[in-house]
């Protein structure tokens, strides 16, 4: 089917015509940036409504608006036909709307049961009724197809188990609307299947499910209605059954994916610059081995929690690790990030706001921080040199700053990433490791980042891209290494670099078929 033609006028047959939850003209502004513009959405009982879009499309913001975590700048939310303004997530929860976060928001030192009943503990008078809570919690978890002791502390659970506890917690309040934000991101295929079954049950019970996921096959399998967001705007609302994952991908990106990426230079034949062997990072990864050539872009794919970030933090001296490293033919080891920086390796964290930039400081301070010696005269920091450096960086990396005196935190995500790139390039590195380079970045800036990375490689630098967006790895990299549970489980190059191959390696199973099987 041709998606564009049908995007506007869709009539979707519904058993229950009155929406439980409805958004009209919702808009949200953070500082100067409008992240959501005029979003309309109708959610009906017994219906799974999927919201899809790229990172930064505004999905999470929309979810937070609908579940009371944020108040919209404009627009209204209707619950059973009446306008509501949630005073907070607790208020929304009492009205029957509950959000299950993508991030784990549990108290790690409390038990599973204590977490599930947090804020609505069962009591005998003044005394907590732990026995009843443990029993009910065990039932709630079991219903999700998991076997977790309710008396276990959450800190001892795996990420997937924690996610299930979170979902159990949401369901314990018997919500009328449940919002699931990327619930399967850290689940195994088996757990995913169990979760999709639960969603089927919820549907039959008349619960309205708002479902956000990157995994399009999953969406195609379970969604009754699909709403597509792009750059904070509503693109289309379509019946789920008619859409293939490919249709959805086109709607999300809004253009041909291929044009997003610069032409790939031929894979270089140079001798390896960096050789890593037997690298292990306690608690995260082991037996990591790879080589990296100058001019090469090497991708690292894998699920969240596969140990990619930790591996590179270990390699670069940011966390304890052991292994053997050869840089330009010489054996070496980086005990601290100062060592690795001095050797010409830079790491751009996925956590730009927490580990990359000082958000409360001006642009120039951020730019020069890792290479301050280059801007000093004697012991003095030269403001004129800094100002000059900032001008150069703004020109070279196309950083869009309304004023030179802006704080880093006032830049958009994409410009923050460009500033971070400029900052680390002042070290004149030989190896650039960039983690989730385009997370939370709009599509126009993505294209620029890809071009900048390709230019770095063309200039002879060795580039490592760690990303959870398979499309970006496939479009950008010469080779892709896939990690699962702390180990490298495969290498893909050339024609073999497909989303399917990556997914199979990353999950250890075929997610696609299992999701479809469940939905059928």
């Amino acid at each position: 089917m041709t998606v564009g033609a049908t995007a506007d006028a869709v009539s979707i047959e519904r058993h229950n015509p009155a929406p439980v939850l409805e958004a009209r003209g919702l808009a949200m502004q953070f500082g100067p940036v409008e992240v959501l513009t005029d979003i309309g959405l109708e959610l009906r009982s017994g219906e799974v409504h999927a919201v899809i879009g790229e990172n930064g499309a505004g999905k999470s913001t929309l979810m937070k608006l609908l579940s009371g975590y944020l108040a919209p700048t404009r627009g209204a939310i209707h619950l059973n036909g009446a306008t509501v303004a949630f005073r907070g997530p607790v208020d929304a929860e009492q009205r029957g709307i509950v959000l299950v976060h993508q991030e784990i928001l549990l108290a790690p030192d409390l038990t599973v049961a204590q977490n599930i009943f947090m804020g609505r503990e069962l009591r005998h008078g003044l005394v907590l009724d732990d026995r009843a809570m443990n029993r009910l919690a065990a039932g709630a978890v079991e219903r999700l197809g998991a076997a977790i002791d309710p008396r276990q502390t959450v800190a001892r659970l795996s990420i997937a188990q924690r996610q299930l506890v979170q979902i159990a917690r949401a369901l314990a309040g018997r919500p009328r609307v449940i919002v699931l934000d990327e619930p399967t991101a850290s689940l195994t295929p088996h757990e995913t299947e169990a979760l999709l079954n639960i969603i089927g049950e919820l549907k039959r019970d008349g619960v309205a499910v708002l479902y956000i996921s990157h995994r399009l096959p999953e969406v195609a399998a379970i969604a009754d209605v699909v709403t597509v967001l792009r750059d904070g705007k509503h693109v289309a609302t379509l019946p789920g059954g008619t859409l293939t994952p490919l249709d959805m991908a086109h709607l999300m990106v809004g253009r041909d994916m291929a044009r997003l990426f610069p032409p790939r230079a031929t894979p270089p034949e140079a001798t390896p610059l960096l050789c890593v062997k037997d690298l292990s990072v306690p608690g995260a990864s082991s037996d990591i081995a790879f080589t990296l050539r100058p001019g090469e872009i090497l991708g690292f794919a894998g699920l969240i929690g596969a140990g990619r970030t930790e591996t590179f933090e270990g390699l670069l001296g940011l966390r304890p690790a052991q292994g053997r490293v050869t840089l330009a033919g010489r054996a070496t080891w980086f005990r601290s990030v100062r060592d690795s920086l001095a050797a010409g390796l830079v790491y751009l964290s996925e956590d730009r706001k927490g580990k990359g930039l000082l958000l409360a400081k001006p642009l120039a301070v951020n730019l020069t921080l890792a290479a301050l010696h280059r801007f000093c005269r004697g012991i003095l920091v030269s403001r004129t040199r800094e100002a000059k450096g900032l001008e150069d960086a703004i020109a070279r990396f196309d950083i869009r700053a309304r004023r030179r005196t802006m704080l880093a935190g006032q830049l958009s995500g994409g410009n923050q990433q460009k500033l971070l790139l400029a900052k680390m390039m002042l070290r004149e590195p030989r190896v650039v490791v960039i983690d989730e380079p385009t997370r939370g970045i709009d599509i126009g800036t993505k294209e620029q980042i890809y071009r900048l990375l390709a230019e770095l490689a063309a200039a002879g630098k060795a580039v490592v891209v760690i990303s959870s967006e398979m499309g970006e790895l496939i479009g950008l990299c010469h080779r892709i290494l896939v990690m699962r549970a702390g180990r490298i489980v495969g290498e893909l190059a050339g024609e073999a670099m497909t989303e399917r191959n990556i997914a199979v390696l990353a999950t250890g199973a075929d997610v696609h078929t299992s999701a479809v099987a469940v939905g059928a």
Partner: protein, 336 residues
Amino acid sequence: MADTLRDASAAPPRLPRVDWVAAAPFVALACLLVFGAFVSPSFLSLGNLANVLTRSAFIAIIGVGATFVIASGGIDLSVGSMAAFVASVMILFMNTELGGGGVGTLALGMLLAAGVGSMCGLLNGLVTTVGRIEPFITTLGTMGIFRALTIWLANGGSIAMKSQDLRTLYRPVYFGSVGGVPLPIALILAITAVGAFVLYKTAFGRHLLAVGSSEDVARYSGIPINRVRTVAYVVQGLCVAVAVMVYVPRLGAATATTGLLWELQAITAVVVGGTALRGGVGRVWGTLCGALLLEIVGNIMVLSSFVSEYLIGAVQGTIIIVAMLVQRSLSNRNRA
């Protein structure tokens, strides 16, 4: 000035034209001076003002170091005890009259004070960074240690300078003046200026603010976090030593109560001066302003009869809370 005016017309209204958070303590100080002039005609006399400034010297000088520590994301509760300890060691040394009993002894005593102060700061810094112990706990511990060492050295009593000649020689450091400016005041200005220079103009100062602003970002940028933090405590120790050098000639003795509660006054001066306790921002001149505010409030209370001077602590306590509330509302307004 021209810049300010141009910005006023061109900048969007969301931006503060004047950084009120930074300016607030100075405005408060100006208001207090005006208020003091109304309360007592003798308040604005040169003699009284010089007296107030001189007496604020200890807290102002220690406050410069405290600004460094707090801006780096730490806290130092041990400065009061450290001052007493450094003073004791210094006086005990001078009583040995090593170095000839004259200027030589004095100079050696001061050098020793600077050395002991730096070592005390180094201890705080290393325990905090290498030992990875919360600075609050570390310095709570060393606060007790330095205090007890002082009492032990003094045998429970006081340690006084024995030599009258040396006392006479040392006296001008607190009571003397250069070109009409009392020496302690000149010293406050010098130390604050040096502190501001180091914090705002040097790479070390930039690194220190980065560490206080976000330890993670600093580490990922290759800044030697432990070294920067430790040096901040050493700077604090040096400032304590300088304060002691001015303090000793005043009374010529150290006792168990020397420097009692100075840590709280220093922290108050820093916070009232506009430095955030969470780190990342340091306002050295603001700290001086905060130290003056505290001293002037006390002075006005003594000169006037509105409030009993026994309530000075309560008034100072109120000042810190009000200062925080004002800061909070100003920065909220800036953000909105």
